[in-house]
């Protein structure tokens, strides 16, 4: 029998010893101090700490323990190995060993002693977190729930790492080696292993999603408990193994093998849990694959159209019982002998009636195949009653997302948060159409036609019966029949409906026949106090914002209500491939995350303080009402109608995540095409963005390659059809990842922009608008849309659309003969810009020109760069194999022109021209027009020969100064794109290809970039000249400003050392910064034979870095 007394005794003295150890004291002291400061910072107003820390009661305690765990996981290793080392060194230990106790009692006592000390520290840190969290008035949950954290985070980690340390110490009998091995292991798991294999190796639990929601709880407690259980049991196994290996004679012969057996059992349990954990994740994918396979099988199966759907749902705990009455119509074009529906696989169908009579049905995973009494003939209608009960299997959600590109959890600040798609809990329900909680005709996502998504527009009614204290939220007019029983009647046919049930509090206001509501979970109405004085002005504020938005998109809100409804923070904000907004956007309702934590501008307290500070600084006096109005506008604009360059703090949120736009197009009407399903998103994106200035001039200047450019590279490799089928590869860098809907978006805007350019902006847009209004609350087919265009414009767009879908050819743009000069008109001076732009490729293209005026008095608005609109913008349509001459005239001097080439071969896709001077003055008339000119496919004269760094005549010698380790690591790194970032503050020790508008290139304006040195790296250009002759030799130079602090060499400006080969040898030419200018620079005239047409450049320079771009030989005739 184990003696508790002995264990307690050993533990007590171990604890006492440890508490007196300076090592532990220093660690504990620093932990408390550091985490204390962190906590104070999170709560002090104006500290800049994100809202999430104060908003969610679990946030601070969770953060505290995660931070502490990281430290204690390392410190525990040292203490554990120290303890065994001391035992072997300490002679007094024999006195203890000679006492009557079992080895188990001794080791368990020691372990409990060590863990006890850490538990004390954990509780101090946890209580500190709870204290801070609940000090804040913004928290609204009982503190008890956070006591899960030490159990889930610290205890398993400590037991595991202590056990492992004991085990290694017993095995290796050397503290230093044990320590080194374990530190290596810890580093490996923190920096590499923890993200692999579903976070299986994350013993510190840094990546395990454990954020607790006040609404939905942990969201995945079972999975987390299994994960943590793995380490708990492995740790116990190691500890038991240590017992059996302790260098002390066992107390009793009988039980000598027991610890080994128990260790093996613990390892087995750990192993089984690990397998269960992996199985859960693999099953998830396999199950999804099974559903997708079935969808593929039935994607072309004729299906009935659901015209009406009457749902009677009873919510009881974790189940729903539903009676659905469907009215269906056979518009499939063939007779239907099987009616195919999708319904969540966890819902058991009890009976199906057709026109009041029982009919047979088959369930296959998520499919419900109803066999009608007799086939439903074309255009015939029928009524179905389906009765089912059960829970919801979340694996039916987002089948269209590539699991390699999508994680099942997300990060907000330092928190890992589990993605949840639906909830069916006692006190909270969240169901979207992806949950298949009501029967949906046909099948959903199919990998054989991925972009196909065309739900029926159905007249829904919903009756919900739930607990008396809960309120359901869904589309349509809500009527309360009695406590807990509500009915919803949408006025219009909808493509889908959603259902939320929770302890909601509703606040609403009616403005111009639209009801605006916010549904918040009781206790989470933190915003009320921040908007207490704008009740009266709210209608006008809403009207103003709505008008602002609708002016932008030129469409009118088609529903009678608009609501925000709170959902747990775990609610997934993923986007379907056919949508640019997240699933948080539902018809009439936008699901907002708990207390708006991942939204923009929800920390109203902070915003108010900032406004007040700014007002004080600007000596502005603003009433409370005005202040709150500003906050309200900021909130609405930031989330629902953001400017194109609004910055988002969290990776999973962007400007479209909460966009209400799908209500304008998508939920109210859709374009349908079996052949070109992506046309629907293409049209949607065009409608949304047709009036916005999406110029990329504000893009981060050090980016190697922008998202749009990466999309172009993808489109160059494969057509839309191919990309849709094969999907996109995972990018090494998460920031660089592009998704299918990014491609649809870019291609979509491009297609409709071409139509717009072709058919005239006003004409096309108003035609589109009218057509959409005409087809409100139903879908329309592409062929009908095409007929409309044919009728109005005299030509069909079928071929254009087909090309758009199938070609991987891109337009390419060349600009030449750029002139800038002044023109005198009477007493006025005007500024003329003119140039020729050609698209020699076989695909139509479009460019957007934006021009900034050189207005020195205009202060750059740092705070709101999005409002810093260019003075002039113009889209120019350039059909295939054609060119345009373009001229613009301005009353003041233009400073910069930016030509965005959108989808094209051009890299970078934004050509920037800075105009320093308009020296020349020309007489004559202005040219302020766009006219056809002779197309050109090059910008060189016939006697000019250029070797660019992209050409085959260019070579470079790559002598790398990288260490072997760095080289090895870099070799392992697959570079997704060949263009690197231009980091002038950290130039590379090798040649790297970088993009910049000022470099030379036909379409790709790039140059090789390297750190300057002593000439150990070189580049050469070899031309294939036809004649031996006198040549003028030029180098192409782009002066790039050094960015960052300048030290030593960085203070000096780059000079270049060229070697020009010619008939009589080599000429070394040095060109310093003063001699050089942007563009072509003359190096000299030489007699050059075809065999010695070569120029070399070394990296010897007084500057910090240099570029190898292009060399030009101009034959003197």
């Amino acid at each position: 029998m184990i003696s508790i007394h002995t264990i307690r005794t050993v533990a007590k003295f171990e604890t006492r010893t440890l508490l007196r150890s300076w090592f532990f004291r220093i660690f504990a002291g620093f932990s408390i101090l550091f985490i204390g400061i962190f906590n104070v910072t999170a709560f002090v107003e104006n500290s800049g700490a994100p809202w999430i820390y104060r908003a969610l009661p679990a946030a601070i305690p969770y953060a505290n323990l995660i931070l502490l765990n990281l430290g204690q996981a390392i410190v525990a290793v040292f203490l554990a190995s120290e303890f065994l080392k001391q035992d072997s060194k300490n002679d007094t230990i024999e006195v203890i060993y000679a006492r009557s106790m079992t080895n188990s009692e001794y080791i368990l006592g020691k372990t409990i002693g060590i863990i006890g000390v850490f538990v004390i520290l954990n509780f101090i840190i946890l209580l500190m977190g709870i204290g801070f969290s609940f000090l804040s008035n913004d928290s609204s949950q009982s503190a008890w729930v956070v006591f899960y954290y030490p159990l889930l985070i610290s205890i398993p980690t400590l037991i595991y790492i202590l056990g492992l340390a004991f085990f290694l110490m017993i095995l290796l009998k050397n503290q230093a080696i044990t320590f080194i091995i374990l530190l290596g292991y810890i580093a490996l798991s923190i920096f590499y292993l923890n993200t692999k294999f579903y976070h299986l190796f994350d013993y510190i639990a840094y990546q395990v999603p454990m954020m607790n929601s006040t609404i939905g709880g942990f969201g995945n407690l079972r999975e987390v408990a299994i994960h943590r259980g793995i380490y708990f049991f492995l740790g116990i196994g190691f500890i038991l193994f240590t017992i059996s290996k302790l260098n002390r004679l066992p107390q009793s012969k009988k039980l000598v093998s027991l610890p080994i057996y128990l260790a093996v059992i613990s390892f087995l349990i750990g192993g089984i849990l690990a397998k269960t954990y992996i199985d859960i994740n693999i099953d998830k994918q396999e199950f999804r694959n099974e559903i997708i396979a079935l969808n593929n099988k039935y994607v072309s199966f004729p299906k009935p159209e659901v015209t009406s759907c009457n749902i009677d749902l009873t919510h009881t705990g974790e189940e729903i019982a539903v009676k659905v009455k469907l009215e269906i119509c056979n518009n499939s074009g063939s007779n239907l002998d099987t009616l195919l529906f999708s319904l969540n696989p966890n819902l058991t169908v009890n009976s199906v009636l057709q026109n009041g009579r029982n009919v047979d049905f088959i369930r296959q995973t998520h499919l419900l195949k109803i066999i009608p009494g007799k086939p439903i003939l074309k255009k015939d209608s029928s009524k179905l009653d389906i009765i089912y009960t059960g829970s919801i299997d979340e694996r039916t959600h987002f089948l269209d997302l590539n699991p390699e590109l999508t994680e099942d959890n997300f990060t907000a600040e330092m928190f890992r948060i589990r993605k949840r798609f639906s909830y069916l809990q006692d006190n909270f329900v969240c169901l979207t159409s992806d949950a298949l909680w009501y029967p949906i005709s046909g099948v959903g996502y199919s990998s054989s036609n991925p972009a196909l998504h065309s739900p029926d527009f159905t007249n829904y009614t919903l009756k919900v019966q739930t607990s008396k204290n809960l309120i359901p939220v869904s589309q349509g007019e809500s009527t309360k029949i009695e406590d807990g029983v509500f009915e919803f009647q949408p006025e219009y046919a909808l493509p889908k409906i959603s259902l939320l049930i929770g302890d909601y509090r509703k606040h609403s206001i009616k403005v111009d026949s639209v009801e605006y509501s916010i549904y918040s979970i009781s206790g989470n109405e933190f915003y009320l106090k921040h908007f207490d004085v704008i009740q009266d002005s709210l209608p006008s504020l809403i009207r103003e914002l709505k008008n602002e938005y609708e002016t932008q998109i030129d469409l009118e809100y088609p529903f009678k209500r608009f609501a925000l409804a709170e959902v747990p923070i775990q609610f997934a904000l993923d986007k379907h491939i056919w949508s640019i907004s997240s699933d948080a956007v539902q018809p009439e309702i936008i699901f907002y995350p708990e207390k708006g934590v991942v939204m923009k501008e929800t920390d109203f307290k902070k915003r108010k303080n900032r406004f007040e500070k700014r007002m004080k600084r600007d000596n502005e006096e603003v009433s409370d009402e005005e202040l709150q109005a500003r906050m309200f506008k900021r909130f609405v604009r930031g989330n629902f109608m953001p400017p194109p360059n609004e910055w988002y703090q969290f990776d999973n949120v962007d400007k479209n995540t909460y966009s209400p736009f799908p209500n304008y197009y998508g939920f109210s009407t859709q374009m349908y095409s079996q052949e070109y399903p992506a046309l629907n998103i293409a049209l949607g994106v065009y409608l949304q963005e047709k009036n916005s200035n999406s110029s990329s001039q504000n893009r981060w200047r050090f980016d190697g390659i922008s998202k749009e450019e990466r999309i172009n590279l993808e489109l160059k490799k494969a057509s839309l059809t191919e990309i849709t089928k094969t999907g996109l590869k995972k990018s090494k860098d998460d920031d660089e990842q592009i998704y299918l809907n990014d491609i649809f978006r870019a291609k979509g805007i491009h297609l409709f922009s071409l139509f717009k350019a072709k058919y005239g902006e006003d004409n096309f847009n108003s035609l589109l608008k009218d057509y959409i209004e005409e087809n409100r609350h139903r879908k329309f087919s592409f062929s009908n849309f095409d007929s409309l265009l044919l009728a109005h414009n005299g030509e069909s767009v079928q071929t254009d659309v087909k090309n758009w879908y199938t070609t991987n050819k891109l337009p390419g743009f060349l600009i030449k003969d750029l002139e800038t000069y002044k023109v005198k008109e009477g007493d006025h001076i005007k500024y003329q810009i003119r140039y020729k732009i050609s698209n020699p490729e076989s695909v139509d293209g479009i460019v957007s020109v934006s021009i900034e005026l050189n207005d020195r008095n205009r202060r750059r608005n740092r705070r709101n760069p999005g409002e810093n609109k260019p003075a002039f913008t113009k889209s120019i349509f350039i059909p295939a194999n054609s060119a345009q001459e373009v001229g613009f005239v301005f009353p003041s001097q233009p400073g910069r022109m930016n030509v965005s080439t959108h989808i094209s071969e051009n890299l970078p896709n934004s050509l920037v021209y800075d105009f320093n001077s308009f020296d020349k003055t020309k007489k004559g008339s202005f040219f302020n027009d766009i006219k056809d000119c002779e197309p050109f496919d090059g910008i060189l004269a016939s006697n000019e020969f250029v070797v660019d760094n992209e050409d085959k005549g260019f070579e470079y010698v790559q002598v790398s100064n990288k260490s072997y380790l760095k080289q090895w690591i870099d070799d392992k790194r697959v570079t997704e794109h060949e263009y690197s970032r231009l980091r002038t503050w950290n130039p590379p020790n090798e040649w790297k290809n970088v993009l910049r508008s000022g470099f030379f290139g036909k379409y790709v304006k790039s140059a090789f970039f390297t750190k300057s040195g002593q000439g150990d790296r070189s580049a050469s250009w070899t031309a294939e000249l036809k004649n031996s002759a006198q040549y003028d030799v030029y180098c192409h130079i782009e002066k790039v400003e050094h960015w960052g602090r300048r030290r030593g060499r960085q203070q000096k400006k780059t000079d270049y050392n060229f070697k020009v080969y010619h008939e009589s040898g080599v000429e070394e030419i040095n060109k310093n910064d003063q001699e050089l200018e942007n563009g072509w620079n003359y190096l000299g005239t030489f007699f050059i034979n075809p065999e010695n047409a070569r120029v070399e450049l070394t990296n010897k320079s007084i500057g910090a870095f240099l570029f190898a771009d292009a060399i030009k030989w101009v034959e003197n005739k």
Binding site: F13, R16, Y97, Q251
Partner: protein, 294 residues
């Protein structure tokens, strides 16, 4: 209560034979284990306190077998190892409290009384709050004996307890032990200092090179040496010869040369006087004898 040691041998993995077929019984009272360094005393003691397994043979304590009944045997054991210097970061009283608790005293108040009582007995009460690590060598020994005895063990094993102690501490230590030996306990005291045993042990064993050279009372040991202890007065030249041939117990310089006490047959010297042997003479005599045999 009796300890029976039967055919006990211990061979270390490096081949060193620490104990060679030891057979003996140890009854209640003070039992001395004499022998030079490396004789096997510590090995025997470590086997007796269940810290080490013998290679062969068995040990039983009454009906308990050392191999099979470690639990029972450990519960009646008190052990003070040869080195007892390094402690964890515990105060003097805490260390004693730890030992008391491990010896099975569960009640906190009883433990507290016992700790105070023993601190008082060993003269450490005034330094009870001092870190055990910061005690002087003698104090540490006293703390050692206190922790050995605090659980009222029936078998007390003390290994070289007086090493490094000043005479006053040694006397104090001996007194504590002899007081204890009056009770129904077995005290095994190992030492290579004969003086420690002569005054307090009623039985002893002599170990040399892992073998039992003698077992019996101190008187019997002394008796064996009778006729083998001589005092010889000698000059310088002879002294060197004596030193080569005999074990010299003491050498006192005189006006003529030296007065030498030797072990062996000293009758051949003209001025030899046979001496009454004491335990130290007997110890040396036996060591010489057994070395000669080996």
């Amino acid at each position: 209560m009796q300890i029976n040691i039967h055919n006990l041998s211990k061979i270390y993995p490096n081949g060193k034979k620490a104990l060679d077929n030891i057979n003996m019984e140890i009854g209640t009272g003070m039992f001395g284990l004499l022998g030079p360094n490396g004789a096997g005393k510590s090995s025997l003691m470590r086997i007796l306190v269940t810290l080490m397994k013998p290679t062969m043979g068995s040990v039983s304590i009454d009906s308990f077998d050392l191999e099979k009944n470690r639990k029972e045997i450990r519960s009646i054991l008190g052990y003070l190892p040869q080195d007892f210097r390094f402690f964890s970061k515990l105060k003097t009283w805490e260390f004693l409290d730890y030992a008391a608790s491990l010896s099975g005293i569960r009640s906190k108040s009883i433990r507290r009384d016992k700790v105070d009582e023993w601190l008082d007995k060993v003269g450490l009460f005034d330094v009870r709050e001092r870190d055990a690590n910061k005690l002087s060598g003698g104090m540490k020994r006293r703390l050692g004996i206190a922790q050995t005895l605090i659980g009222s063990p029936k078998i007390i094993v003390v290994d070289e307890p007086t090493t490094g102690l000043d005479p006053e501490e040694r006397i104090r230590f001996r007194n504590i032990l002899s007081e204890l030996s009056q009770q129904d306990v077995i005290i095994i005291l190992s030492t290579h200092i004969v003086g420690d045993i002569s005054s307090i042990c009623n039985n002893l064993a002599l170990l040399n090179n892992g073998q039992l050279a003698f077992k019996g009372t101190p008187e019997a040991l002394i008796e064996k040496a009778r006729g083998h202890v001589w005092q010889v007065s000698t000059s310088g030249y002879e002294y060197d010869l004596i030193k080569e041939k005999y074990a010299v117990v003491s050498t006192i310089p005189t006006q003529e040369g030296w007065e030498v006490q030797l072990i062996g047959d000293g009758s051949q010297f003209p001025n030899a006087i046979e001496l009454e042997p004491n335990l130290e003479h007997a110890y040396v005599y036996f060591m010489e004898m057994s070395s000669a045999l080996i």
